[in-house]
Amino acid sequence: MTQQVSQESAKEVRRLDRVIIRFAGDSGDGMQLTGDRFTSETATFGNDLSTLPNFPAEIRAPAGTLPGVSSFQLHFADHDILTPGDAPNVLVAMNPAALRANIDDLPKGAEIIVNTDEFAKRAMAKVGYATSPLEDGSLDGYRVHPVPLTTLTVEALKEYDLGRKEAARSKNMFALGLLSWMYNRPVEGTERFLRTKFAKKPQIAEANVAAFRAGWNFGETTEDFAVSYEVAPATKAFPTGTYRNISGNLALSYGLVAASQQADLPLFLGSYPITPASDILHELSRHKNFGVRTFQAEDEIAGIGAALGAAFGGALGVTTTSGPGVALKSETIGLAVSLELPLLIVDIQRGGPSTGLPTKTEQADLLQAMYGRNGEAPVPIVAPSTPGDCFDAALEATRIALTYRTPVFLLSDGYLANGSEPWRIPEVEELPDLRTQFATGPNHTLEDGTEAFWPYKRDPQTLARPWAVPGTPGLEHRIGGIEKQDGTGNISYDPANHEHMVRTRQAKIDGIEVPDLAVDDPEGPDGAGARVLVIGWGSTYGPITAAVRRVRRAGGQVAQAHLRHLNPFPANLGEVLRGYDRVVVPEMNLGQLSTLLRARFLVDAQPHTQVNGMPFKAEQLAHVLKEAIDHG
């Protein structure tokens, strides 16, 4: 901590076990950056944390409007937490629109820090405030801190020879400084970050550092802020290890690089920019020194086409996209099914249909991934459950693709992609060995005794076909999307052969080895298990688990299971489902997993669905579970 901010404070410090803060402002106010920095400080401090960035699809939506509000919510605690939190304890509102858009989420008693400079009549009228909410009593019951953030920032930067407008841009750093004081966050990281970020503009760097410190000092000296808070590090929440904070898209990118290294295959990404998947393209394009080739294609179809072409050439082919992109790629995915080449299709799901809600989350591509192709074209599906888990899920999807020579869907979503959490950094030695064998010679003896290479002669165990890459002498062969003769791979229109090939491709996917589903079902006081099972998939893991904890704390009994493999399902899934009186399936769609479960296992799985572009709130889910228990 620097000299300026290190004076001993005489103010009271209160201990809290957890806090939920939401930063909200215009989409040009730098709220995502502010939230990211506060998150980094919090991670470095050692709290457990979970974040929820929420921003409009427009880059700079009209200033001061409700649709233009961008927010970042952070939940941090001295214990293990699972979600970004249902309702903020603290709201930082940079303008009237930010206040209006977020106030309904705040419980009474919450603290609100408002930038009073922006509460001019016109700005308030723009979002429907006829009178000032700061004066008309509508915020009674909240603890409001009116702070002229803009004026204070400009004042603090008057030595820097910046115009008022430019100086005012640092107000987010002033707010960050103030919040950093309130919650006793370490500040060195942010100062270092600012100096690196603006390395080419040292004056701007120093101005931002000055605004940040001014915010800290403001908290320290102003009477309005009588108390600061301490949230102790979550030392007991974490197993031993080295940690960093990581977002889902970053973890997924690292997972792909790791998969390529562990498979000893060069990574080839063919991709077309699309929200919220583009960050993976950005990240991977920075790691060319790992032999990673990134190809920004002319469209979604070319993205997967190039990845498939590279896979034919022996690369680990990957394409990254979101729902609308998957729709465009469907035909090529079908080709990959027919060619039986390894390929990863990463779908960062967002609100649909069509363009839908590009920056909001949803899980409504499950059935598209499962069935969205012509013909019988089964594709394995793997879904990560937390931001950090995106790393492991990428390795698992790669294992399946390489072992079974098949395209594999990796279904993440906007919430996982942009949200972040502490992640225990794995040792490279812990990572799975994903090396695979290319075909090197003939694999079949013809009737006349000559040796031949048959591209569709399968491994009897996995049913995978050999991967013979161009450049291998003697294995020249032709593959394509027309039905192939079993074994030889030559074109075949024979009815019996087609029947055999369709069933064999299905059998190969059905036979993929996936771990059994684990069920968390602690014995009740009577020694019996729960009668209600809650089962989810993907990013609902955090909210469901938080809800389950609440129910159990209140004395309710509920079992929980979470699916990582959606195709094929774990072998014991049917047995698990049939072991409970009621099965509740929370999903951010209109019941796609429950549809699959009902169809496959003839169980009365009850969907609980939400499609508002946001993750579930733990409290609501807890209520749903309680209902299921009480009326079971």
Binding site: S40, A43, T44, F45, G46, G189, F238, P239, T240, G241, T242, Y243, R244, Y254, V257, A258, Q261, P266, F268, H287, K288, N289, F290, G291, R293, F295, A297, E298, D299, I301, A302, G305, A306, L308, G309, A310, F312, G313, G314, G317, E331, T332, L335, L339, I425, E427, V428, P470, G471, P473, G474, E476, H477, R478, I479, G480, G481, I482, N490, I491
Partner: protein
């Protein structure tokens, strides 16, 4: 634009086969025939092209396993099945995209794309133009028969306007593409045109394409004897062809028609000084001054484009064949490989452990 490439750019346009392993065994056309029965209609122009390609491949002296043919959908796209190289018969229009990924990942392969007018110019138009502008090391053979064959005779994007087909009983309303003009407009570094039945010319053009660093587009006028028979007859008939075909040779005056006294064609192509348009003149009247000399290596695409427009779209009279454009510019995968090498040079070979660690970590002790 400068005529001479900077030294660095020359290095970025190495010979396309520089990294492809050679064979020490002498090859013949037979070595490039697969065991599959060829299933085009009897009399189809595709047979001639297949024979020419099989006959030409040994000339390259490449290890056969390092050659890949990728195709889309359509009659011509069955091509890979009949060659004993590696091959992929993919989906409609996507062959350039798939081949781009393969070529970008594997500089040691000679990658060929076989496509048709519907495949390349209709459903796959986007991939074609982007492959051309990127200058990926692909040799694209575009079989143009000006009709949809495999779907049984609908008009194609190169069919003449007013064409009567099953899907245009009152005549097609579409204005056609000129594939050569389109390719030049798409920044192609190599564009040529040839005819299925002229084995010698076809082979010469294949040779020039194989020698070209980057994407080479070869339009092959190919006869569909079932649905569009005789579409290029005027270019094939010995007598008519003398007037109809302009054979382009780099460095030679652009002359065609019945031989004049000097043994070259009696007609020549000149540029009208007032309008800048190309004109065909009678050499006897005009004299040989001002007759354009073909320069396929000109950096400016202006003349090549003008030549691509000189044919009469209805009669195909004055159709230029040969290499219209052949210029050097950096090859996509060479640049890509260079970036990978630069990254290693600057940051060292990637270390997974330090990547995963990053800069902001904390430790939880037991």
């Amino acid at each position: 634009m400068a005529d001479v490439l900077a030294q660095g750019d020359r290095e970025r346009a190495p010979h396309p086969l520089a990294l492809v392993p050679k064979t020490e065994v002498k090859q013949t056309a037979k070595d490039f025939k697969s065991d599959q029965e060829v299933r085009w209609c009897p009399g189809c122009g595709d047979y001639a092209v297949l024979a020419a390609v099989q006959g030409f491949m040994p000339e390259l002296g490449l290890a056969r396993e390092n050659i890949v043919f990728v195709s889309g959908i359509g009659c011509s796209s069955r091509f890979p099945y009949y060659l004993s190289t590696y091959g992929m018969h993919s989906i409609h229009g996507r062959a350039p995209a798939i081949a781009t990924g393969l070529a970008a990942a594997r500089s040691d392969l000679s990658v060929w794309v076989v496509t048709g007018d519907g495949d390349a110019l209709s459903i796959g138009g986007n991939h074609l133009i982007h492959a051309l502008r990127r200058n990926v090391n692909l040799k694209i053979l575009l079989f143009n028969n000006r009709i949809y064959g495999l779907t049984k005779g609908q008009y194609s994007p190169t069919s003449e306007p007013g064409k009567l087909t099953k899907s245009s009983p009152m005549g097609s309303l579409d204005a056609p593409f000129n594939p050569v003009s389109l390719a030049i407009g798409a920044e192609a570094s190599f564009v040529a045109r040839t005819v299925d039945s002229d084995r010698k010319h076809l082979t010469e053009v294949l040779r020039a394409a194989a020698d070209h660093p980057g994407t080479a587009l070869v339009e092959i006028y190919q006869n569909c004897n079932i649905f569009n028979d005789g579409a290029f007859e005027v270019l094939k008939d010995r007598e008519q062809a003398q007037e109809a075909v302009i054979r382009l040779q780099h460095g030679e005056p652009i002359r065609f028609g019945l031989p004049a006294e000097d043994g070259l064609g009696s007609k020549g192509v000149v540029r009208d000084p007032a309008s800048g348009e190309l004109e065909v003149v009678d050499v006897a009247e005009h004299g040989t001054d001002g007759i354009l000399v073909h320069d396929a290596h000109a950096q400016s695409p202006t003349l090549a484009f003008a030549l691509s427009r000189i044919a009469d779209p209805d009669t195909l009279h004055q159709t230029p064949i040969g290499v219209l454009r052949d210029v050097r510019r950096p090859v996509y995968e060479t640049l890509m490989t260079e970036q990978l090498e630069t990254a290693v040079h600057k940051n060292g070979k990637g270390d997974l452990g330090s990547l995963l660690h990053g800069n902001d970590t904390w430790t939880v002790a037991g």
